[in-house]
């Protein structure tokens, strides 16, 4: 292990779900990546590709079926419950559906303050004061402390979630589609807030999204996922300038923005929808939809290989 370990390192992570007695769904089929201190890594892919399963495996909710999750060099899948509880406040998560992520019967102030009860043994008054401070730090009116979630809008609930996650001063923030259910103007507000907090608290972020344009704007590096496997990891600018994996190209080409239409190449997926993850295709998982696939692609699974500084791709015939 190196002298300064990454904030998060994932090694050969696998997540499986049981479907009935014999069948199982391999949602994440062995992926590895790392996130360095202060970095924002984007994890992108279509729905059902296993993005959220990766997030939950990192949070140990529940622990992954196989593989290691190293948090500052400490393997979260191996530590005992007591140590995990000690570590938990340093990695926090923001969920996609902010309204259902909050307890509807609790006042939102309570939901924010309770994060401290598990970590610091502060008296309640101080906890509430810290919660109010955090509310104004994320752009909420502290007078809303006594509201319940149904009284607040989607954007406000998302701010509550962010406030709750930041109460314990985490080092790592896992954001699972934090802006996908929000309106354009509110999405911009939340993205700006996350950027401000990232610099102020020195956060390291895993940013899961299906929106490539958002990822382009907030991430330093991007990992592209397809049917439980990584296709490509690359620095953001390099990926968008010249994607190496055909699937990355397909995703970038699908961004509906006027400036994108004139620039894009004519590589498009053969079928609009991915095959079922219950029964993934043999060889390269993308070969059934890849416009550039050849015989070898259906026979042999491409290993993930380094092709440049910080760039890795799993393709027999990369575009670079």
């Amino acid at each position: 292990m190196s002298a300064s370990p990454s904030v998060l390192e994932i090694r050969n992570l696998k997540v499986t779900y049981k479907l009935g007695r014999r069948q199982q769904l391999v949602a994440v089929a062995g992926i590895s990546f790392h996130i360095d201190r202060g970095e924002t890594l984007g994890l992108v892919g279509e729905s059902g590709c296993g993005k959220s399963s990766v997030a939950r495996a990192i949070m140990q909710l529940p622990p992954p079926s196989y593989g290691n999750v190293l948090f500052f060099g400490e393997d979260l899948t191996r530590v005992d419950r007591k140590r995990l509880r000690q570590l938990r406040h340093r990695f926090q998560m923001i969920f996609q559906d902010s309204v259902s992520a909050l307890n509807p019967r609790r006042k939102v102030g309570f939901s924010i303050a309770i994060a401290l009860r598990a970590t610091d043994r502060l008296p309640r008054k101080q906890r509430d004061r810290r919660a109010r401070e955090m509310m104004s730090a994320v752009g909420l009116d502290p007078a809303q402390f006594n509201c319940r979630p149904h009284r607040l809008s989607g954007g406000q609930c998302q701010r509550i979630q962010i406030a709750r996650a930041l109460m314990t001063c985490p080092k790592l923030l896992v954001c699972d589609e934090p802006v996908s259910s929000l309106d354009v103007s509110v999405q911009a507000q939340i993205l700006k807030l996350l950027e401000q907090l990232r610099t102020r608290h020195g956060l390291t972020i895993l940013f899961i999204s299906h929106d490539m344009a958002v990822v382009k704007n907030v991430c330093d590096r991007v990992a592209v996922m397809y049917l439980g496997k990584l296709c490509e990891t690359a620095p953001t600018e390099a990926l968008f300038a010249a994607p190496a994996h055909p699937y990355s190209t397909v995703l970038i080409n699908a961004i509906p923005l006027p400036e994108n239409i004139s620039l894009r190449s004519d590589i498009r997926a053969l079928a609009a929808e991915p095959p079922s993850p219950v029964d993934p295709p043999p060889g390269c998982r993308f070969h059934t939809r890849c416009p550039l696939s050849r015989t070898r692609c259906s026979e042999m699974e491409p290993p993930i290989e380094t092709i440049g500084p910080g760039r890795q791709v799993a393709c027999h015939f990369p575009l670079l």
């Binding site: 924002t40 507000q189 609009a272 929808e273």
Partner: protein
């Protein structure tokens, strides 16, 4: 091409001064406020706006599906060719639906009948509106499924909605909407529930159908990028009003209404480096409220005048007659 109103074809659909109120215990909430526009054959109009701005209510008003308790203003008209659909009895309205105006809804799972096969749902429309024999209608349904790009259409026609993926269901819904050859197609957020790659394919299909059949199409979306890329003309809605209407190619480059400008600025763009700050609009889109005077965007606007609070700005064209905007203090300048 120079625009001349004399040469413009007669519109298929013409909405005039449409206001809709919902009676609630908070009073009569104004969900649509004086909406007017027209749609000609073979053209598409994108309607964009944030949630609660009245997009869906507008679609429902056009096809006579307003919720109970909704009151339409007396001077409003929804002209479909020479017929005013408002005030038409349900029997007559049913003759226009599917044949004249058809609709594709946001969530295909809830608009398709879960206990009816895809083929039968499409055939039902044909039997009902085209007086086709069941057998012929079923055969036609398979042809339609083939036309909207459903693989193995014979097998799919016998399947139920829950056996299909989201994109496939939306294709079935589109096939059903197109079954009677409508002149106007209203698509209300048809791709919001779908993945980006599937979204591409469904929008490609809608555009191709619109071109081939020379339909007028209304595409409702919250995504300005989709509206700019996929339609001819875009109407931006805010708090129940159209606040700007312009040719789609101008949407990202030359807008006049500060709200549209701020919305475009708030979209993450491709040409900016990571961590480039986004410009944001403070506050939230307003919930439907009792009608007041003044510009609804006034509290969030970064260039308000005294006049904006007191007088509602009318939707008026500038030098370009195709570009209308409702603002006392517009951004940008005249020009292409």
């Amino acid at each position: 091409m120079k625009y001349s109103p004399e040469l413009a074809p007669t519109p298929l659909l013409r909405i005039e001064d449409l206001s809709v109120f919902l009676n609630t215990d908070r009073g009569a909430l104004c969900v649509l406020d004086g909406v007017s526009f027209s749609l000609v054959q073979g053209r598409s109009l994108g309607i964009v706006g944030e949630s609660g701005c009245g997009k869906t209510m507008l679609c429902r008003a056009m096809i006579g599906l307003l919720p109970g308790g909704a009151v339409v203003s007396e001077n409003a008209h929804v002209w479909f060719r020479q017929t005013d659909l408002l005030g038409l009895p349900e029997r007559e309205l049913n003759k226009v639906r599917a044949v004249g105006i058809a609709m594709v809804f946001q969530d295909p799972l809830s608009c398709l009948n879960p206990v009816m096969t895809a083929g039968n749902q499409i055939a039902e429309t044909l039997v009902q509106h085209r007086r086709m024999k069941t057998k012929d209608a079923r055969r036609r349904a398979v042809e339609l499924l083939h036309a909207v790009g459903v693989p193995a259409p014979e097998r799919r026609a016998g399947q139920y909605p829950h056996q299909m993926s989201g994109g496939m269901r939306q294709r079935v819904a589109i096939a059903a909407a197109l079954s009677c050859g409508p002149q106007v197609l209203i698509a209300d957020e048809p791709t919001t529930a779908l993945d980006v790659t599937v979204q591409e394919a469904v929008l490609d299909l809608l555009m191709q159908m619109q071109r081939d059949k020379k339909m007028g199409m209304i595409l409702v979306t919250h995504d300005l990028g989709i509206a700019a890329v996929r339609t001819h003309e875009v109407a931006v809605m805010y708090a129940g009003r159209i606040v700007e209407q312009l040719p789609a190619e101008k949407l990202f480059y030359n807008v006049r209404m500060p709200y549209t400008h701020a919305l475009v600025e708030a979209i993450p763009k491709m040409d900016r480096p990571p961590h480039a700050p986004l410009r944001i609009i403070e506050g939230q889109p307003p919930a439907p409220a009792v009608r007041t005077t003044g510009c609804a965007f006034f509290p969030r606007c970064d260039r308000p005048l005294k006049r904006c609070r007191a007088e509602t700005p009318p939707l008026r064209p500038g030098h370009d007659p195709r570009h209308r905007f409702a603002c006392w203090n517009p951004v940008g300048k005249e020009g292409p």
